[in-house]
């Protein structure tokens, strides 16, 4: 456990001191503020536009940070051979993977939490009808982004950093649409197609099921039981992805 904490803290330092992250976060904040302008040109919809645009910005930049930083976390240690230093000490491969994931999770908590809070305060200041739902939506965005991190960490153990990033982004996009696959398969498709659709539905994380952005802007009501269930599914999904990454790392030679 000591090793996991040490690696997590080190990863947190590594990522939070990364200038690329600073640039991405600043750009994201600018985008959120730009929502003010979009709101100002929409008739009586300023608050809704701001929250909508802001939450999309939080999601987009959160996923970009997750995909690109997570992919380099493991690969960089291997390519720059810092793993020699780690694995010549009593550090298990699972502790390495777990520590890396938790470290980036802490960084993303700071980044996404900060962006969500910024959006909340901004809507409060400009009278855009601030609601706690903005913060709840941000928390669920964080959960989706963490799932992408776990997926990217796994891919980065078996392929290059850039390909791992692309695959992570692909899983995120597919996860937004996976529920459609199931719906489409039910429209006049055979049993085999439906079975395959179910497999795709389970293998690709269903991000749409925990997406409450629309509820945050007052466009829908939320079935919290379903959200909790799917959130649990995403946590289990992360566990499987990280276990698979640890398994691959255990078999690697350096």
């Amino acid at each position: 456990m000591n090793q996991v904490v040490a690696i997590a803290l080190n990863t947190f330092r590594e990522t939070i001191r990364d200038r690329v992250l600073t640039v991405i976060v600043l750009f994201a904040l600018v985008m959120i503020v730009a929502g003010l302008w979009l709101g100002s040109i929409s008739l009586e919809q300023q608050g809704r536009m701001m929250k909508d645009f802001g939450l999309v910005a939080v999601t987009g930049f959160g996923v970009i940070v997750a995909a690109f930083i997570a992919a380099t976390l493991v690969r960089k240690e291997v390519e720059k051979r810092t793993v020699f230093v780690l694995f010549s000490k009593p550090v298990s491969r699972a502790a390495f993977v777990g520590g890396k994931f938790l470290g980036l999770a802490a960084t993303l908590a700071a980044v996404i939490g900060g962006m969500g809070l910024f959006l909340f305060v901004l809507t409060l200041l400009v009278g855009g009808g601030a609601s706690g739902m903005v913060l709840v939506a941000t928390a669920l965005i964080y959960l989706q982004v963490l799932t992408v991190v776990a997926v990217v960490v796994f891919f980065s153990t078996v392929t290059s950093a850039i390909l791992a990033s692309m695959l992570g982004l692909g899983v995120f996009v597919a996860g937004q649409l996976s529920h459609n696959v199931l719906s489409l398969s039910r429209v006049g498709a055979g049993a085999l197609t439906e079975a395959v659709s179910w497999v795709v539905f389970v293998v690709i994380p269903n991000f749409n099921a925990v997406d409450v952005k629309a509820a945050a802007v007052g466009e829908m009501t939320v079935d919290w039981g379903s959200v909790a269930l799917w959130a649990g599914y995403l946590v289990a999904y992360m566990g499987v992805a990280l276990a698979a990454a640890s398994f691959v790392m255990r078999r690697k030679e350096f």
Binding site: N2, A6, R13, E14, T82, V85, K89, P90
Partner: protein, 264 residues
């Protein structure tokens, strides 16, 4: 330096260790180690020397478990990796950490408490002459400074066995003297040191025992005194003969250049 390493006191023993890796799309097998036999006694300063590609680094990686041997046995008579310190060749560390933070991180991996981490880090920074640069980020360190912080991290756990892969590489003369002093001090404290090096004068000066590797095999092993008895001209001449770098040259007593003697 003393040069005895009785069988019972071997801290490291490799017997018939082979390592084959598979390269390329066709997974072509390439054998790096061909039955390495090596014994390092408790308290020895052991020099593993050989030309580039001889298998020295692979031997060390197999010892550490960074690579699994394809055959043979590896025995480390220490209390797990917690009692081993390792400096990799051409080390790269975390750019965004200061020297002090890096040592503290390494100490934490061994489960040391906060007070002990600070004390060990401060002491080692002093030992390797990096006190003044303790709070400077590693990306601003010169190659020699990185080598020294690398040695410091290898000693953070107060190890019984220290493995140093090319510890003198990139060091200026003062840095080399400091590192040699550290190795000498470890020897005086009864620690066992195994290091790879191309700098034979350092090997001659520091080591109690040496092994010469060539083509994934140990081709000679013994004490420095034995090597110098074979080649009074010095260790460089001995090494050249041992690896067959002088065509037709022998040891002067009828033996071939590569004797294939295994460690005792």
């Amino acid at each position: 330096m003393s040069s005895t390493s009785p069988e019972a006191q071997h801290l490291v023993r490799l017997s018939g260790v082979t390592k084959t890796v598979h390269v390329g799309l066709r997974r072509r097998p390439v054998t790096i180690l061909h039955g390495v036999d090596l014994a390092v006694g408790h308290g020895d300063v052991f020099g593993l020397i050989g030309p580039n590609g001889a298998g020295k680094t692979t031997t060390v990686k197999v010892l550490l478990g960074l690579m699994a041997p394809s055959g043979g046995t590896v025995a480390l008579r220490v209390d797990g990796l917690g009692a081993v310190g390792y400096l990799p060749e051409n080390p790269y560390f975390y750019d965004y950490l200061s020297g002090r933070e890096f040592l503290s991180f390494c100490a934490r991996l061994f489960g040391l408490g906060a007070g002990e981490r600070k004390a060990r880090a401060d002491s080692l920074l002093r030992d390797v002459g990096l006190e003044a640069a303790a709070d400077v980020h590693l990306r601003k360190y010169s190659k020699g400074m990185l080598q020294r912080i690398g040695i410091a991290q290898a000693l953070i756990n107060d190890p019984q066995l220290v493995l140093l892969d090319e510890p003198m590489t990139g060091l200026d003369p003062i840095g080399r003297i400091e590192v040699k002093r550290i190795i000498q001090r470890l020897h005086d404290q009864g620690r066992t040191v195994l290091f790879n090096s191309h700098i034979l004068t350092d090997v001659e000066e520091l080591c109690t025992r040496i092994a010469v590797m060539k083509g994934g095999r140990i081709v000679w092993s013994g004490t420095v005194a034995e090597a110098l008895a074979d080649s009074p001209e010095g260790l460089e001449v001995f090494f050249m003969r041992a690896v067959g770098a002088e065509p037709g040259a022998g040891f002067g007593d009828g033996r071939p250049a590569v004797v294939g003697e295994m460690p005792s």
